[in-house]
Amino acid sequence: MNRIKSILLSLFLLLPLSTWAEEAAIDIPEVVMEHLSDAYEWHLWSYAGQAYSIPLPVIVRSERSGEWICQMGAEELPDGFFLNAEAHGKIYERLSDGTTVRPLDISLTKTACQIWIVVLLMLAVFLCTARWYKSRDEKSEAPSGFVGMIEMLTMTIHDDLIRSNIGEHAYKPFAKYLLTVFFFIFFTNLVGLIPFSGNVTGNINITFLLALCTMFAVNGFANRHYWQEVFLPRPFYLWPLLVITEVIGVFTKPFALMVRLFANMMAGHAILLSFTCIILLGATMGLGMAWGLGLFSGVMLLFMYCIEVLVAFIQAYVFTLLSAVFIGLAHREHEE
């Protein structure tokens, strides 16, 4: 009797979901891509065909007049501007001669907003931690609780990752940069896992900039020995071949960093979104499929979510580790 009751109850609960799903057939790739992409608004949820979202500041410089246009949201744009559906819904401008161009657009999009949220979070966390130390000296007790956790994490990265991989003689100038990189990626990844938040490290622009910084940090301060290995690799009879691979290697190392972080985070988000979509998809296929797929996807979703928390740390760790290794290679003392 109880079982029948619960089945009836679940059927009743699933009814509105299935009716909604019948109305809007789900195109999973479309939904996933939409959630991964940047936007001029912070989409919260859709209900009954109505999207509820927070409009974000749009800052565009007109190509025609050179004027700056600042407004909230891109629902209504001034004359001459339009959202180009062929270019992922970015703001484009139609010039007087009929051609369309992409104006200078530094809108605080969803991704940009989330970057600033991460920045504020990082500043809050580390400045609070730093303030804790202000009233204490080395003779007072070691911190516990939150400050202790941050200290432990910082010192783990600083000692085990940066110091040991760059080497004792050269790690100091890079320690702060690499710590910033690690915590920036780590915090961004974690914030990206909070529901309603967007996808930041799964955007190639973000990882490109991080990799560019690392490339500068590696090559900008490299010693003579490093450049000797790039341009005068031994043995000499293989010089033409080796110099090409070495020069390409200078660029492939940061490129690999960029793609690895991007692909991992993007794939993680895509998997989470796909399993969520499968639950909704199952709801359109009748009660049995709704239960079966729902249960399966729900379990997988929870599992993947836990994995993603792990991946958030691992990817930040790997990016910092490889950056430290590359910097270490550029500062290797001449042995033998």
Binding site: M33, L36, S37, D38, I59, E86, A87, H88, K90, L104, D105, I106, S107, L108, T109, T111, A112, I115, W116, V118, V119, M122, L123, F126, L127, T129, A130, Y133, K134, R136, D137, E138, K139, A142, I150, E151, T154, M155, H158, A175, K176, Y177, L179, T180, F183, F184, N199, G202, N203, I204, N205, I206, F208, L209, L210, C213, F262, M266
Partner: protein
């Protein structure tokens, strides 16, 4: 290549790059100046302090062991010294006693000898005196005899001699 044919997340976006660069630079500058150095310096200072404390504790331990050994050494030395002093004192006492004994013996011998000499002297003096007295007496006796019997000289002289001899032998 038309970049718009790529998925949205692969499309370069100048605005996003700008914001990312700005945010990253700000967070890097602030944290590199106020965030991480506070943590790292404090941890390193604490590490140095702990190392220093350990080193000091080791040193203090060593010192304590040294002091213990030193005090034991001192105690042993003092004990030895006191034993030596007692022994020395005993020896000194013995030698003093024996010396005093010797001196006393010498002194007594000297006194005895002196006494003997004095006695001898006195005896000699007494003898001399007696001799003198005897002579005087004998002279007196002789006088008396002479006065009484002046008739026969020869017999009387003989008598005197006899008397004198008697007296002298008696005195002897």
């Amino acid at each position: 290549m038309d970049l718009n044919s790529l998925p949205a997340i692969l499309t370069p976006d100048l605005g996003l790059l700008f914001w990312m660069l700005l945010a990253f630079i700000i967070v890097f500058i602030v944290l590199a100046k106020f965030g991480f150095p506070a943590i790292i310096n404090m941890v390193e200072e604490r590490k140095a302090y702990i190392d220093e404390s350990l080193r000091k504790a080791h040193e203090a331990n060593e010192k304590l062991a040294n002091i213990k050994a030193e005090s034991e050494q001192l105690l042993r030395e003092a004990r030895e010294q006191s034993a030596q002093i007692v022994k020395d004192a005993a020896a000194a006492r013995d030698s003093m006693v024996s010396q005093a004994e010797l001196k006393a013996r010498e002194e007594s011998a000297r006194i005895i000898a002196e006494a003997k000499a004095q006695i001898e002297n006195e005896k000699q003096a007494a003898l001399n005196e007696i001799r003198g007295e005897v002579a005087r007496l004998s002279v007196g006796v002789a006088e008396k005899v002479l006065r009484k019997e002046l008739s026969s000289d020869a017999a009387q002289m003989e008598y005197v001699d006899k008397l004198l001899d008697e007296v002298s032998s008696k005195a002897k």
